[in-house]
């Protein structure tokens, strides 16, 4: 990464100003060099657009009662995609929260599994063999100690690989955050704590979540570095995450990344954010839309045109429709599904209950 945009970690840096490489107008920040080539950026953009399109589709299906409650990514696409692109899916692991669809897809989860999951089909929980991904976590922050244990275990067995775990500003208030970070520091686990500060935990604003100036400032309290990045800047998120991954690979232990972004939509499809989000805040952040920013950047390079845009859109809607069709073709759950995988084998009682159920 020996270029002028190498991220500076907290000990050496103002902890409050987020690192930015790409300005909202799509130009590179002064003195910055892009850490991704245009082809990579195009692939990332496709994923960001897929995510945005899936949000829209999911919300509309949900309104028709044809899809379950789920949490859209809208506004956070650079944060999620930039970080996922810094990982090697054949080596690294993702330990997710629940609002990171494009990262899961990039890492190898079939879109139909995600659809099945939020449709409440048991089969949706399955993660294909070989995909280095833990299940979606509903219990906030509970995934963080798992990520640390997994990373530590890889290190103990001298298996290459870094674990990146996603969580929100809200989740960072749970005790599990602290216990996980502290352990990670002690055992120097190759883990990246990727905190998506999207301004909200349901209706609770960032200001009510913590009096800390930044969440990244917590890292020194665990003996490692933290950094704040502009989470709506694909290039900066990618650069910072890549640096953290490389540090972890080099045995330098954990990093806490605070990605400052914004939830442009509702918490989930059951939520009504107009009750608590001001229109001004939304407008301010809409101007910083992460997808527009990348499109402007690519336009300036001559890599983005109305034609590419419409090709992308067609391709994406085909992808989504196919996944929906695949998911729809999965037979409904059976009584066996209720019991299977509780244990490696059915217990006496389960076997009896299953028989009774079948009657």
């Amino acid at each position: 990464m020996g270029n002028p945009s190498t991220p500076q970690f907290l000990y050496h840096n103002d902890p409050v100003v987020p690192l930015r490489l790409l300005e909202p107008d799509g130009t590179l920040a002064e003195g910055s060099v892009s850490p991704m080539d245009d082809e990579q950026v195009l692939r990332a953009l496709r994923l960001m657009m897929l995510s945005r399109a899936f949000d829209a589709k999911g919300i509309s299906l949900q309104r028709q009662g044809r899809f379950g409650t789920f949490s859209p990514v809208q506004g956070q696409e650079a944060s999620v995609v930039g970080s996922a692109f810094a990982l090697d899916p054949s080596r690294d692991w993702i330990v997710p929260q629940y609002r990171e669809l494009p990262a899961l897809l990039h890492h190898g989860l079939p879109l139909e599994n995600f659809i099945l999951y939020f449709n409440g089909h048991p089969a949706g929980g399955h993660i294909p063999e070989g995909v280095r991904l833990l299940p979606i976590q509903i219990s906030l922050a509970a995934q963080l100690p798992h990520a640390v244990g997994l990373a530590w275990g890889l290190r103990l067995q001298e298996i290459d690989g870094v674990v990146l775990t996603y969580f929100g500003d809200g989740a960072s208030s749970e005790g599990d955050f602290h216990e996980a970070c502290n352990l990670a520091g002690v055992v120097k686990a190759p883990v990246v704590f990727f905190l998506q500060n999207n301004g909200w935990a349901i209706s609770t604003p960032r200001s009510r979540q913590s009096a800390a100036r930044t969440f990244a400032e917590r890292a020194p309290g665990y003996g490692f570095d933290g950094i704040v990045v502009d989470g709506n800047d694909l290039l900066a998120v990618y650069a910072v995450t890549l640096a953290a991954v490389e540090r972890a690979c080099a045995g330098m232990g954990p990093t806490l990344i605070e990605s400052q972004t914004y939830r442009l939509g509702a918490h989930n499809t059951a939520d009504d954010p107009t009750r608590y989000v001001s229109q001004e805040a939304l407008n301010a952040w809409s101007d910083r839309d992460p997808i527009l920013r990348v499109q402007r950047y690519l336009s300036a390079h001559g890599c983005w045109s109305d034609r590419t845009a419409s090709e992308f859109r067609d391709d994406i809607s085909r992808t989504i429709d196919e996944a929906l069709a695949t998911a729809r073709a999965v037979p409904p759950p059976t009584a066996e599904d209720l019991f299977e995988h509780t244990y490696a084998e059915l217990t006496q009682r389960q076997a009896r209950q299953l028989r009774e159920h079948a009657l």
Partner: protein
Amino acid sequence: MTPRIGCNELATMGQMNMLEAIRDALGTEMAADDRVILLGQDVGKFGGIFRATDGLFAKFGDKRVFDMPLAEGAIVGSALGLALSGLRPVAEIQFLGFAQQAFHQIVPQVARMRYRSRGRFAASLVIRAPFGGGVKTPELHCDAIECQFAQAQGLKVIAPSNPYDAKGMLLSAIRDPDPVLFCEPLHGYRFIKGEVPLSAYTIDTGKANVVREGSDVTLIAWSAAVDLALRAADALSTEGIRAHVLDIRSLLPLDVDGVVTATEKTGRCVIIHEASLTAGFGAEVAATISRDAFYSLQAPIERVTAPDAPYPLAAAEQMFIPGVERVVAAARRTLEVQ
């Protein structure tokens, strides 16, 4: 039994669902006692994710209603401290499944403060949390884990089944000198409705309640399962079977006498709950009966519960939750024995 309401009281009654009754209780007691404060995730301006505290922030302001950082342990643990300072905190946990994050504060701390201090300090507080399935929530939002708290001597664990009880029991809980875990039926929030007095009233939370008289078989339940029991009783009545339905209301402490009396009424017992069979609170009810009402028993004690497995994702939940047919079948089984 839920008191019959006379004509002259009707003017002071309102038709409410469970949520409205709970909100009404909170507003009533906050107006009456300025020590009562609310805390929890999103309970302020937002009014709670289910709107149980809707309007209370606007009415009572930011010195009485508090949005909390996302940490159940701190919600419960600080509620204990707030109680010791002289306030009467009512904490909301968004879903009972997440009370597990506060388990170490609820069971060995809140429940024990009085005992540990030999009566010097009382943890006079309420923890409200919805539980149970049937509304297609995500994983861990639906788990019926009320029994995991039922060993916590010093705590009261209560679970109303209808709006009338919800309001009265919540008012009693807030006034109770002992800490109360108030388990609310998620399923009933909007579906279960009834007449509720607009004024304040309390209910002896420790007393089981006969919600339907019968002489053939006793159905015992709490929370949303009472509604199921009543529907099963209706179905049974079409076959000429008169079910006696007992709402235990309180798991801890358990109204042993109430359970024994209701069992003796018929000698045949079906216990119904949303949790899985093994180690659900139905076990305690059955064990109590199998000793204290043993001689009245005419048939094996049936438990109709969820199967022994985690609560499944939403598309499978209707197979998981006990339904009317299973209750009816169990009741019939108890009656097949002569």
